[in-house]
């Protein structure tokens, strides 16, 4: 059962399972994992990935990062990607949380949690979800540094990362 949540509003449908949240506020990884897996004894492996705001390095320190998004399409794309992961791997539960708005260096941006009976599916699905989120989810980052604002450019390495998921590449 797919659950959508925006800015902490009541989910459209209740129940644990497969969750998408697009929100401004920060998340607590431990609390999210606990909520996702509460009462479940069919889960043997839980993998989490957290993306955080990295500073610009000594030469161009980052003051803040602002994430813009396309309301409606963000949830739709994340749900679609999560659905594909479910088709491909035996997952007991999964969660994607993606923040938007103004973030400071060190802050959380995105959380992916996958849960399965055995670890390989959880590891692979989490990696898949991140690769597809990076290339498909409609968010755009704008960095503010000492020299002003600039929009982050997409990386070709993110597109290249999708190649490893082509079905005929799987071993």
């Amino acid at each position: 059962m797919l659950v959508f949540e925006r800015d902490g509003e009541q989910p459209i449908s209740k129940g644990v399972g497969f969750v998408i949240k697009v929100q401004k506020q920060d998340f607590d990884i431990g609390a999210e994992v606990k909520a996702l897996t509460k009462g479940r004894t069919d889960i043997g492996a839980i993998v989490t990935f957290t993306g955080t705001v990295r500073d610009g390095g000594a030469e161009n320190p980052l003051v803040s990062m602002t994430l813009e998004h396309y309301p409606g399409m963000t949830e739709g794309e994340l749900a679609r990607i999560e659905g594909e992961a479910q088709e491909r791997w035996p997952l007991q539960a999964s969660l994607i949380i993606h923040r938007y708005g103004e973030l400071k260096p060190g802050e959380n941006i995105v959380l992916v949690v996958t849960a399965s009976r055995h670890r390989q599916a959880a590891f692979d699905a989490a990696s898949y979800l991140m690769d597809f989120l990076k290339t498909n989810a409609p968010f755009w980052k704008k960095e503010t540094g000492a020299d002003g604002e600039n929009w982050v450019a997409a990386k070709s390495s993110d597109d290249d990362a999708l190649d490893k998921w082509a079905e005929d590449n799987q071993n």
Partner: protein, 85 residues
């Protein structure tokens, strides 16, 4: 039939528009036609839509390819390659 156009990130900044309602001429059939049409709307649009490989389009909130037909679309969004995650 009018269609809602949405603009995001630097496409929004360069066109100066976040949202507009447009009636498209019949000869604009595909996404590629649409980008070409956008270039003809004035200097800001010509500038914003200059480079094909940094323009992405979604039709009714689904990623579209240059050859995708736009007939029946209610909402068309224009944006740079995504940078979330």
């Amino acid at each position: 039939m009018s269609v809602k156009f949405l603009y995001f990130a630097w496409l929004r900044e360069q066109t100066g528009i976040s949202e507009e309602d447009i009636s498209l001429p019949d000869n604009v059939a595909t996404v590629a036609d649409l980008i070409q049409w956008q270039r003809g709307r004035g200097p800001e649009f010509e500038n914003a839509f200059e480079l094909d490989d940094v323009i992405r389009v979604a039709i009714d909130q689904t990623h579209a390819a240059p050859e995708t037909a736009i007939a029946g679309a209610r909402e068309i969004a224009f944006f740079p390659p995504v940078t979330g995650g």
